[in-house]
């Protein structure tokens, strides 16, 4: 794939946001909030950072691998996969419908290209990514493994089992990213279950931690991912704290947990799409 400029990546992101909103609107179901908040990150990964092959192969040898632990933000992942050429963009119209490969939460059962494991029940993706990263080490495959988690998801105990393990086993070919939007279904994380200082928590577990303070700025996301990549191979797993705003890109959705799992109605969709240029053509 030809290297895209930051502007071109921003254009892709605008289309991805349209895809997210149209998918969720069409079936009146799904999770637009954090999908919109992570759009720059997913676009940067799939259109710039990762070495990956749209001709999907489950084993992914000599490719960078990506795992999504907070599976409910499937719309953003499906969009970047389709826009990368893993499957036809028209298939996005089947999202969450009967007999679709685009299940509500990502799954392998229907063989959707790009998906390597089911996720949705939270807390499991970090362990899976660590296992995949260790397999790469056994195989002498020097590509990286990426995993995204939610911040609310950090409340699951398995995450901390995995965090301890990754440092102990020096899984330094792994870049974990936490979508730090500080919201969960029932409200702000600070009120539901205060995460306090995730940097301190992970550092004390033996991780190398970086902050991407502007997680909705493409330039900043790219710099953060480059920085993370440069820290690999030094004996420590890497955590990228991606500071985002839920619902970013649509003025009436931004910064609130209200749109965590709510679909826009017809008028809201129209208002939202009016803010997002159709850069690559709607599906």
């Amino acid at each position: 794939m030809e290297k895209k400029s930051t502007e071109q990546l921003q254009e892709v992101a605008s289309q991805v946001r349209r895809d997210i909103l149209r998918m969720v609107h069409q079936v009146q179901s799904g999770h637009p909030g954090a999908s919109l908040g992570c759009t720059e990150f997913f676009t940067a990964l799939y259109f710039d950072q990762m070495k990956h092959d749209k001709n999907f192969n489950m084993k992914g040898k000599n490719e960078d691998l990506f795992f999504l632990s907070n599976g409910h933000i499937s719309p953003v992942w499906y969009s970047v996969l389709a826009r990368s050429g893993y499957f036809p963009i028209a298939e996005m119209s089947t999202f969450r419908k009967l007999n679709s490969r685009l299940q509500g939460h990502p799954a392998t059962e229907e063989n959707l290209p790009g998906i390597r494991i089911a996720s949705g029940s939270l807390g499991q993706g970090l362990s899976v990514a660590i296992g995949a990263a260790q397999a790469k080490k056994i195989d002498g495959d020097d590509r990286l493994v990426y995993v995204m988690m939610g911040d609310g998801e950090q409340e699951e105990g398995q995450i901390w089992e995995a965090a301890m393990y990754a440092a102990h086993w020096k899984v330094d070919n792994l870049i974990a990213t936490i979508d730090l939007n500080r919201q969960q279904i029932d409200g702000p994380t600070k009120e539901i279950m205060d995460l306090i200082d995730l940097r301190a928590k992970y550092e004390s577990f033996g991780w190398e931690v970086i902050d991407t303070l502007q997680g909705n700025n493409m330039e900043s996301v790219l710099i953060g991912l480059e920085k993370a990549k440069n820290l690999t191979g030094q004996g420590k797993p890497i955590l990228n704290l991606l500071h985002t705003e839920m619902g970013y890109g649509v003025d009436f959705m931004v910064g609130t947990h209200k749109w965590h799992g709510i679909a826009p109605n017809d008028q809201q969709l129209a208002d939202a799409l009016a803010q997002l240029p159709e850069t690559l053509g709607d599906y």
Partner: protein, 322 residues
Amino acid sequence: MEKTLDLKFNYTDKKDTRSGFGDGLLEAGRKNPNVVGLCADLIGSLKMGAFQKEFPERFFQTGIAEANMIGIAAGLCISGKIPFTGTFANFSTGRVYDQIRQSVAYSDKNVKICASHAGLTLGEDGATHQILEDLGMMKMLPHMTVINPCDYNQTKAATMAIAEHEGPVYLRFGRPVWPIFTPADQKFEIGKAWKMIDGKDVTIFATGHLVWEAVIAEAMLREEGISAEVINIHTIKPLDEEAILESVAKTGCAVSAEEHQYNGGLGDSIAQTLIRNNPAPLEYVGVDDSFGESGTPTQLLEKYGLNAANIVKAAKKALARK
């Protein structure tokens, strides 16, 4: 009692089935470089030490963190590794059910969940560790194969066989030293029941440690003029329905014997098969909706009715219902 009986199968040695797992894993590891091991702080109990020593680069100590172990195993599968996870049956199933359900079964990952210390024969540790629900939990999961071998040799053969089988497997074995009465060179065929003893009056379907009790029960019944067929159901899922129906078509009644709850166990699987094809009397030998307790394995099997004497009683009951 067993010494005076004319048994159709005999033993010269006794060993724990978990050792069959440990030895089978080592051989599987030697045959296939993709075999990897994981253990949650029970390497000695699971007999995984020899594998760890020979293949340190393919072995992962996870600490006391079973949920993470299942996830790591699922991740290792992606590039084609064949992970064998080891911990007690209780922590291999109930504790990590959702991890197995989503990351292994639903994702169809080639993880071998190897579970020791299953059932009452764990003995003195008591009910917290004596899981009697694991077969039911595991067989309910789509894609999952469920295997419960009967002695050291069969467990070793099963361990090597599952390494060559593509797909998630639950392999259940135990701690007690138990007679080795099946051949060392047996070929283990997943999903294929083994008719060990021919009979015509009643069929005894047994799994795990209770296969040995079924062998004793057959001899006891024979002394009373009752001809029992003994079938070793080492694979609970997929169940060899053909073998079950063929035997019951001949004998007309059956007993199931297992170290598990009635609910969800082998007996339930056989009952489903019979009721849908050829309804016939079936008596259960197993644990009737209760937890276990501390005691020696022999004491517990006697107290909960999981022995040859009780299989004999159940067989007579089934015969009377014909």
